[in-house]
Symmetry: C2
Subunit: 154 residues, 2 copies
């Protein structure tokens, strides 16, 4: 896993530094969506440390290398997710509790490929996000009901 990073860096003649290793380790070991702060906290927890500029630069680098993806769930900051060993997937974001769940739909790839070629567009990445309320907690289910009723009457 770390070898992949090492290889990508060598290929571009970029140094494999201690900080890059530590940050990548944090990313690779988590399947969650981490903010820059989460990464810094995880580093502290294992006795490591990296300046915030380095954390941001390294996360951007991982995205550039294709080893991570960047997400914006409308929280006012970005989150990052390891891409290694995970299939392309999209997200459902609960606006009540903040939980993010993932899904894969077999038709989406085809649809976007069709769209791109129809528009003379070369698609590089896509972002598909569905915002709404989940049914994990009682509070979320309550909001679901409220929303459904409001939708019916307006």
């Amino acid at each position: 896993m770390m070898q992949v990073l090492r290889g990508e860096l060598r290929e571009r003649e970029l140094p494999f530094t201690h900080q890059r290793e530590a940050i990548a380790q944090v990313m690779f070991e988590s399947t969650r969506h981490l903010s820059a702060d989460d990464v810094a906290a995880a580093l502290r927890q294992r006795g490591e440390h990296a300046g915030k500029a380095t954390v941001y630069r390294t996360l951007a680098l991982l995205v550039e290398l294709g080893l991570a993806t960047e997400h914006d769930f409308d929280e006012g900051f970005k989150r990052y997710e390891t891409k290694v060993g995970a299939a392309q997937h999209d997200h459902l974001i609960c606006t009540a509790c903040g939980r993010v769940s993932t899904f894969q739909h077999p038709e989406l790839d085809r649809i976007f490929a069709e769209l791109a070629s129809e528009h003379g567009f070369e698609a590089i990445t896509r972002q598909v996000k569905v915002f709404g309320t989940c049914s994990e907690t009682a509070a979320c289910r309550e909001l679901q009901r409220a929303y459904r009723e409001a939708g019916r009457t307006s």
Copy 2:
């Protein structure tokens, strides 16, 4: 058109102010995706003026009332688009020239409805964005070619 706004405001017992009218006018007369700054500039151009706090508040209000939608095209700021008289649509964003084009796909609504019910999720809004390169300018087409070749070899 302005009557719609007036009605929505009355329904919620909110005052129909001169600033709200002017900002809504700017939005309703444009089919483009305007940033808060664009709106302020458009106001200036027609001899109006509104503090930026008011611009932001009013745009948020229009979104709340269902008369506008908010977009984030990864430029570091939000853009707003009037929703009046426009069908649900999604966006292709060219990362080379910044052009945004729209598309509608007949299957997407069905797919997201299915997904939501499968996950016990009540979908409120969705954001579907495809980032890539368009074929509008020579520079964009050049990047398209470069990207296709890079994709082939890696």
